[in-house]
Symmetry: C2
Subunit: 142 residues, 2 copies
Amino acid sequence: MRIGELAARAGTTTRTLRYYEARGLLPARRTDNGYRTYDEGDLKLLRQIRTLQDFGFDLEETRPFVECLRAGHPEGDACPASLQVYRRKLDELDALIGELTAVRAQVGRQLARAESARDGLAADAAVPGGPEPVCELGGRQR
Amino acid sequence: MRIGELAARAGTTTRTLRYYEARGLLPARRTDNGYRTYDEGDLKLLRQIRTLQDFGFDLEETRPFVECLRAGHPEGDACPASLQVYRRKLDELDALIGELTAVRAQVGRQLARAESARDGLAADAAVPGGPEPVCELGGRQR
DNA sequence: CCTTGCCCTGACGCCGACGTCAAGGCTTAG
DNA sequence: CTAAGCCTTGACGTCGGCGTCAGGGCAAGG
């Protein structure tokens, strides 16, 4: 099959496939006229790449899986190098989720504080100096 | 104070301050010789920006906070536009954390499956066709 | 006068994963 | 013959938030 068909069957674009080839991730055979040719095995490799990409893996991180499949394994994660990538990714995800959760809590507190400050200041109760200045963002919005 | 001092006091770089100015976020007055001049208020604005940046806010998302401070409010989140940004960010964070958590679970399952498959295949028990192919990644590493 | 240490503008580099043109070749149907 | 619809390479654009020169100016101390 040619590049357009493979791209369509994998739900991606020809540009992406040429990019993978340039990166050495998914090399292609060529026909006489220079057209790239792929087989079902390439589709499988490609699907493995896309799945991992969907999980947020970098392209380079998919390489062990692809090489594992190319080495004849039925699953891309049958090789130690792939498992290593899994474990590293889990650590990264845990760290990231932890950070984001902390940030979420912090932002949540800020919002609560700001809202209560706003409520508390209603009727200019806590501002002896007069009414507080007002944001002038009325007219045009982006 | 000049740009170098402000940068140092805020723990950032002069390049960053010039960038903020170019983006219209933190304009500077100028001395006769063209040097940028800042005051304590600018330091406050800058700290607000950096804090939000540390939370993962885009530069554009900090703008309402900066304008709020510039409008005379003691807090950058005293304005409705800032609160809107908070809320949007919370939604984004929740969505992102949710996705990442789902991915983490999925990757965790893949790892468990791959590991158990590996264990199960120990001693070539489940491979009638002979020993499984081995990943050849030995020689050179990146 | 010269060096040192600030400051200035302008402009390219970076990173990742492609998108999007440009300019052209092959093949097949009409 | 020609147009349509594939394919080719090459190369620049995108996005954010700066880093890093290059080439120069200004001010103060020795």
